[in-house]
Symmetry: C2
Subunit: 455 residues, 2 copies
Amino acid sequence: MENKTKRYILPENEIPKYWYNIQADMVNKPMPPIHPGTKQPLKAEDLYPIFAEELCKQEVNQTDAWIKIPEEVREMYKYYRSTPLVRAYGLEKALDTPAHIYFKNESVSPVGSHKLNSALPQAYYCKAQGITNVTTETGAGQWGAALSYATKVFGLECAVYQVKISYEQKPYRRSIMQTFGAQVTPSPSMSTRAGKDILTANPNYSGSLGTAISEAIELALETPNCRYTLGSVLSHVALHQTIIGLEAEKQMEMAGEYPDIVIACFGGGSNFGGIAFPFMRHKILDGKKTRFIAAEPASCPKLTRGKFMYDFGDEAGYTPLLPMYTLGHNFAPANIHAGGLRYHGAGVIVSQLLKDGYMEAVDIKQLDSFDAGCLFAHTEGIIPAPESSHAIAATINEALKCKETGEEKVILFNLSGHGLIDMTAYDQYLSGDLVNYSLSEEEIAKNLEEIEKLK
Amino acid sequence: MENKTKRYILPENEIPKYWYNIQADMVNKPMPPIHPGTKQPLKAEDLYPIFAEELCKQEVNQTDAWIKIPEEVREMYKYYRSTPLVRAYGLEKALDTPAHIYFKNESVSPVGSHKLNSALPQAYYCKAQGITNVTTETGAGQWGAALSYATKVFGLECAVYQVKISYEQKPYRRSIMQTFGAQVTPSPSMSTRAGKDILTANPNYSGSLGTAISEAIELALETPNCRYTLGSVLSHVALHQTIIGLEAEKQMEMAGEYPDIVIACFGGGSNFGGIAFPFMRHKILDGKKTRFIAAEPASCPKLTRGKFMYDFGDEAGYTPLLPMYTLGHNFAPANIHAGGLRYHGAGVIVSQLLKDGYMEAVDIKQLDSFDAGCLFAHTEGIIPAPESSHAIAATINEALKCKETGEEKVILFNLSGHGLIDMTAYDQYLSGDLVNYSLSEEEIAKNLEEIEKLK
């Protein structure tokens, strides 16, 4: 590793000016969201009461491959972008693999994860439309922290419902959001009808992203001049995150390589789509053979064991019906530490791409993700977020396959965030208290049975 | 702030190849360390039982202005350096100041602070000499985290004594060190004679850097093939940290500016010396008029209210007597959250420079430091370490003076680390539970009386 370049950083004028909208290039477009009452496809304007109008338009835009990044947003990006592309020589050496491993280090964003990439434009579009208040949900707290800062930048009020298990496991993330001036409520809460219903039925429920989304949407609909924002799953969020892959494309060029495999962890799809879609463009348009691997937790396996069908995006059924790989909107994920991956469904774009064979998915057990995270910390010095450790585990698996075959494959993964706020999880791992969660076929099937009746 | 460059980053080949040793250029050299028994000046070899030999030589080197960075260390630097120089447009706007504020962002180091800059060479020199085990102390845990990773990189065992108040206030930092494989003990402990003595006299003592240093030195002296390492105060540590200022010099040139004022927080002097010395070189050699301001906590004011005299570097008196501004080695600092600034003395170089008028010092009250830290978080998105917030407070004071006078001064400060592990402190601040600590002239005088007798 002597005298070789370790990091690739773009000059400011090379920071992309457009996001990439893969919907425009997809052979089979995602099927439309459907109104649960009328069973009719939704138009952008049907979503206006919930999201800023510009975001609704981006959500259903299947024609424009390139969407201009507003100047105000790009100026804010410049404070932390480009993030570095790093060659993981330390990890390669520890694995004794011929593979070339690169990671895109989104953990150096001021809030510690890739989430700021979408929080900034979402806050900006709300502000530009004259909105004064926004609501959201957060799992691990990465999205909530990013939105809290982004709303502060653009002068908006921010209310966050944080999944209760994360609120308790990660008090520092709550403090971060509060330091940025946001109002934070553990979910389920008694402040919404959706929260009350769930708490009444199950007083000890530790929460899920699906439930917190219901609460945040309800608050947005009942507050004047307020809109809801979401940190993953939706197509406009993945759109904003493509800044990751667009930068990585230029940076891989600087390194003189092109990835054979692109890997990211998978919760709703935002960091996966962010790094994968710009490269997948060349698979769709130019026939490149790159493999794309989404790494999801074994305890919340919608891509590997869920079913492609119409389902709600939230627990209470406030969202439209979405065509996606799902475990059922009422699926209650196990209390793994990767809170950002505890979501029952996948975004509609990724769902269609998986269905059409453009990408693969693997499931990672909790203990394997921490094994991988610790090896990464030892060899690269960065303690990864438990979510990101799923991508690292999948990367290690592929790098070890290269060791067996002797292939010098180029692997690129997204380090979506650091784990400095997740040290209680590492504590549990180091003390041997961490467990794997299993999920039987019966449990999955039973949950999906109810969903089949929806459409 | 539209369309203006926000960040300056050096290409890898511009990362400095030499550290800057200001001792060689000082008009009045630091007076020598003195053996407490013989009262004779110490030579480098007198320190060999405690530190790696190369570090001892650097410690007393008053002739070579430039020390070559070992290739192995520079290769590791490349993973996170250069750190960005950032123009703080958001802070400038909030203060409505004509001043140009820049900060060097050391918080993006993989361990979250500047400490890795010295941990890597210290671990390297130990390894090169065949040492297998190292010990150290840590206050806030920044140094301990950095050394834990650096020793992992070079294959050494690492034992850390963490000041008990920090061990309790910042459990995440303990976990970080353990995740990197270090053994962590709260100090004072019963594992050393020094610790036992202090605990016997005062069972509730919450610890200090001085005490933890005693314990770490004792363990090093009693363990075969083991050396002690220190994260601040000593001249070789400041030497390694000059990579910060050397980079900043080139980056300010990229920005087309030169600082009128350079500011850093002050604990023992490592991050202050790191950013200041390369610029001070031009004050000494070229007559530049730059002001240098060390920002220390009002509750631990060795520079502003201490006395220049020979004193021990540690609580138990294991170190040589050092010529420095001190509050007395038995001074017990108040339990402020800026654990890294809770040290009774200043390094010998900084002490001489302050005495000779090359720099100034200001003291910052705890609440003012948190006011400043939160304003910085709101305007720049980065939650600063409580230590670094002292530098921010001093910067804000200078920027507000510029507002009064209308002067367009260029202010550069060092953001030594982020505060993501210090959120309990922010919690206390936000809930109004944080207090200022006052210190009477009598307390200071009484403590120093005993020190006078030492020499």
